[in-house]
């Protein structure tokens, strides 16, 4: 366990030895938020498979994955941003602007690689714009991104009015409609890939550690030699890029761009992140939690859809779930006291 290179320089110990951990990680895992989410997800899965004979069909499950993959990709980046104590409400508007830029480029005859390149570039620019305002100028992220939310989508409206772009190149359809293998869609692969990448970034790297430190106490983080504003800026860039990737997938899946594309996604993404156990006040949360929250929201929407429950009722349930999962543990504590 002890590293030799550390001991060489280590000073003479004179105090008492403090144990590394008191409870094992395994024990804590059992009591964690993620464990609770996993139970909920499994319960929904079992319930659904009894409630509808169509649920367990691989093709319909694969189809159902579209209702969370795009949002979840943004949610991964948003989770980091919220853990660091910021928020980006402009993600859905970034998607609209990315989609619009791609639509304009398509009109000028751009090929699929050029479209993707432009889309990613737009997302990066939007993220950088938010980042400069928040990390650079020190403005509060919630109001800045309410402003850019209007601005970015507003540009789409100026360009498109009540029109739409259609007729994307045939090979562009792959991102939102293509299958990699059997029932596994390209989007599902992206979802899994980004889940792993963001999980590693947040939980396995020093960058992730800095994100937690900033979220818990940004001033102390700065006084610990961390370049706080650089980290925050990077997080806005990441969120912009992930929004662009989600926009590419969604545009490809729909095959068209309207200025109202992805309207309201930002709130669903934030819901997913909070449901996943990320504290809206910053400082705590995990990527596995967000993955589970995405699965829960996806399974719920799909299962209720099979039961012919209308979309808006599902949104009630999601809203109640959001409040309920946070309220119940607190209520329980109050009752026990």
């Amino acid at each position: 366990m002890t590293d030799i290179s550390m001991n060489k320089s280590a000073p003479v110990a004179k105090g008492r030895q403090i144990p590394d951990r008191l409870t094992s990680g395994w024990k804590r895992g059992l009591k964690s938020w993620e464990a609770l989410l996993l139970v909920v997800a499994v319960a929904i899965f079992i319930f659904n498979s009894f409630a509808s004979p169509y649920f367990l069909d691989p093709w319909s499950l694969s189809d159902a994955s579209f209702n969370f993959t795009e949002k979840a990709m943004i949610a991964f980046a948003m989770a980091l941003l919220i853990i660091a104590g910021d928020i980006d409400l402009s993600v859905a508007s970034i998607m609209a602007l990315v989609s619009t830029v791609m639509g304009v480029a398509m009109g000028l005859g751009a090929s699929t690689p050029v479209l993707v390149f432009l889309g990613l570039g737009t997302g990066l620019l939007c993220g950088a714009f938010n980042g400069v305002l928040v990390a650079g100028m020190g403005l509060p992220s919630i109001v800045v991104t309410i402003g850019t939310m209007s601005l970015f989508r507003g540009i789409s409206y100026i360009v498109l009015g009540d029109g739409a772009f259609t007729g994307y190149p045939a090979d562009f359809a792959f991102f939102g409609q293509g299958y990699v293998w059997w029932v596994i869609t390209f989007e599902l692969v992206l979802f899994a890939l980004f889940a792993v990448l963001f999980g590693l970034l947040l939980h396995g790297t020093s960058f992730g550690r800095m994100v937690y430190a900033i979220g818990n106490n940004a001033t102390a983080a700065r006084f610990s030699g961390i370049r706080v504003n650089r980290v925050r800026f990077i997080l806005f860039l990441l969120t912009g890029v992930m929004s662009a990737i989600a926009a590419i997938c969604l545009t490809s899946r729909l095959g068209s761009t309207r200025p109202s594309i992805a309207q309201g996604f930002e709130l669903e993404v934030v819901t997913m992140v909070v449901l996943g156990g990320v504290s809206i006040l910053g400082g705590s949360g995990s990527i596995p939690g967000v993955v589970l929250a995405a699965l829960i929201m996806g399974l719920l929407t799909f299962g209720l859809g099979l039961l012919n429950v209308p979309g808006i009722v599902m949104s009630i349930i999601i809203g109640a779930l959001l409040i309920g999962v946070i309220a119940l543990p607190r209520l329980w504590k109050m009752v026990r006291r």
Partner: protein, 508 residues
């Protein structure tokens, strides 16, 4: 136990007895008592964690005691809310926390009990007139209609005191009222306390400064670890006795200054200036040296140190480390240059509460405990173990949240964090402020050890015994400038105080 004090001063206006208060896992107060007498100042003395702030919260209706009796003028009562405490005539003046920047002076004085006019609306005119009268009664020349955010700290204090008078308080609690005040303001506060005494108020005065307590208090009460230790008249006690009661043992060697070989210059600062904070700061720091920075609160010492740590940037001047000019644009660059800073404001700038101890320790050293950006937990724990053990940290485990530790132990973690970066220069800003005596000794001991190992240490402190006891050399700052420098025999309390206050004849 001490003699029953009530015999020697009439009947107490407020009397607490057998007060017990527990929180999950901690018994903050265990059957303590406290008596306050009209027209007298009672000093409440105790280390951090002794239960002082808990008793204040009980007195002001924020906490409810689990057991015990509160009596006001001999009648048993309860303070279920802050409002109830106010109505019973108990009010507290806190360190700049009880006021509202966006409200006016008059509104701050009367919030919660504003005079009402027609339809139950606030009678602004009457409120402002009464505020003017109250402010005049304490000799404060403030406009009741001014927004509080336009005032300085000392004026805010006056507003808080006017507020205490406005509810016709019988009992005024002053919780470290001088902590943020300048020398002159402190004296004005003392005069105010005298006025309050003359008006027959009972005053509970909480302070860590012994000179202050001996100057202002009539009575003392000591708590230790949530227990009542004793009480009595100030005239019948001396400092040594109070310290002994506070810590429960004789404190002999408080300043364990060791001899260290003073070596070559490490840090040379020349002509450091800032538009508003400091001007023409220049000094040299050597290996193995502890350089003390003394001055009044607000003399610009912390500001100079934060500029050296890359928090703010000087407008002029140069800083050399080992003769090499350094431009410090961020804390990260300062750390790379071997300069680290243990801040005064531990809660806000030092400890990252919410993160476990080991992660606090490794935070600035992540590039050493990780490989190409990926964390190595084993190395992190090893690093945290080594340095926390060296500082004699008391904690249940290394993955315990730092926020659960006492102030002194948090300070040890912050120091451990910086030692792990293997610095050349360590700046400690009020390193023992607000920590218990046990931890204080550990920090002092450790500072000596560091200097003996060849580190260059800067210690900013406002406590004269600490500065004199620990430093090889003392620089005194006043109003953003270096006022004097003392070594050897010249390092006397008188010289330091004169230089800091700008009194003529402070020969250096």
């Amino acid at each position: 136990m001490q003699a029953d004090t009530s015999a020697a001063g009439g009947t107490p206006v407020l009397r607490l007895s057998g007060i017990t208060k527990s929180f999950p896992g901690v018994r903050a107060l265990n059957g303590v008592g406290l008596e306050l007498f009209p027209g007298q100042v009672t000093a409440l003395i105790g280390e951090n964690g002794a239960g002082k702030s808990t008793i204040v919260k009980i007195l002001t209706g924020i906490y409810q005691p689990d057991e015990g009796v509160i009596q006001v003028n001999g009648r048993e009562t309860r303070f279920p809310t802050a409002q109830a405490a106010g109505e019973a005539g108990v009010t507290a003046i806190h360190q700049e926390t009880v006021l509202f920047d966006e409200l006016t002076v008059a509104e701050n004085i009367f919030i919660g009990h504003a005079p009402r006019g027609r339809f139950g609306l606030i009678d602004t005119r009457r409120m402002e007139n009464e505020a003017r009268r109250l402010l005049a009664s304490i000799g404060a020349d403030l406009d009741p209609r001014q927004r509080l955010r336009e005032l300085g700290i000392a004026s805010k204090h006056l507003v808080a005191i006017a507020r205490a008078l406005s509810i016709d308080a019988q009992v005024v609690i002053m919780d470290e009222p001088t902590a943020a005040l300048s020398h002159k303001e402190i004296h004005e506060l003392y005069e105010l306390v005298e006025k309050l005494k003359a008006q027959g108020k009972a005053i509970l005065f909480i302070s860590h400064k012994f000179d202050e307590i001996f100057r202002i208090a009539d009575r003392w009460t000591v708590f230790r670890d949530g227990q009542y230790v004793g009480a009595g008249l100030m005239s019948e006690v001396d400092e040594a006795r109070l310290v002994q009661l506070m810590v429960g043992r004789e404190v002999d060697q408080i300043y364990p200054k060791r001899h260290a070989e003073i070596g070559a210059p490490v840090l040379t600062v020349a002509g450091y200036s800032h538009p508003t904070e400091f001007d023409d700061i220049g000094f040299t720091l050597h290996r193995g040296e502890i350089l003390g920075f003394y001055g009044l609160v607000g003399a610009g010492r912390s500001e100079v140190m934060q500029a050296l740590f890359g928090i703010t940037r000087p407008s002029k001047g140069a800083c050399r480390v080992d003769g090499q000019v350094m431009v410090l644009r961020s804390t990260a660059e300062a750390v790379n240059a071997g300069i680290v800073y243990v801040p005064e404001d531990r809660g806000r700038q030092g400890a990252v509460k919410g993160l476990p101890i080991f992660q606090n320790v490794t935070l600035p050293s992540l590039n050493r405990t990780s490989r190409s950006g990926f964390l190595r937990l084993a190395e992190e724990f090893a690093m945290a173990r080594d340095y926390t053990q060296r500082l004699d940290l008391r904690a249940a485990s290394l993955d315990q949240d730092i926020g659960l530790l006492s102030g002194g132990n948090q300070q040890k973690v912050v120091i451990a964090k910086w030692l792990a970066t293997k610095p050349r220069i360590i700046i400690l800003d009020e390193p023992t402020k607000g920590i218990d005596i046990g931890s204080k000794a550990a920090v002092h001991d450790f500072m000596s050890e560091l200097a003996a190992e060849g580190l260059a240490v800067i210690m900013v402190s406002s406590e004269i015994p600490e500065v004199l006891g620990m430093s090889d050399r003392v620089i005194v700052m006043r109003e953003g400038r270096i006022a004097a420098e003392f070594t050897g025999d010249q390092m006397t309390p008188e010289n330091l105080v004169r230089a800091a206050a700008g009194i003529e004849g402070a020969a250096a």
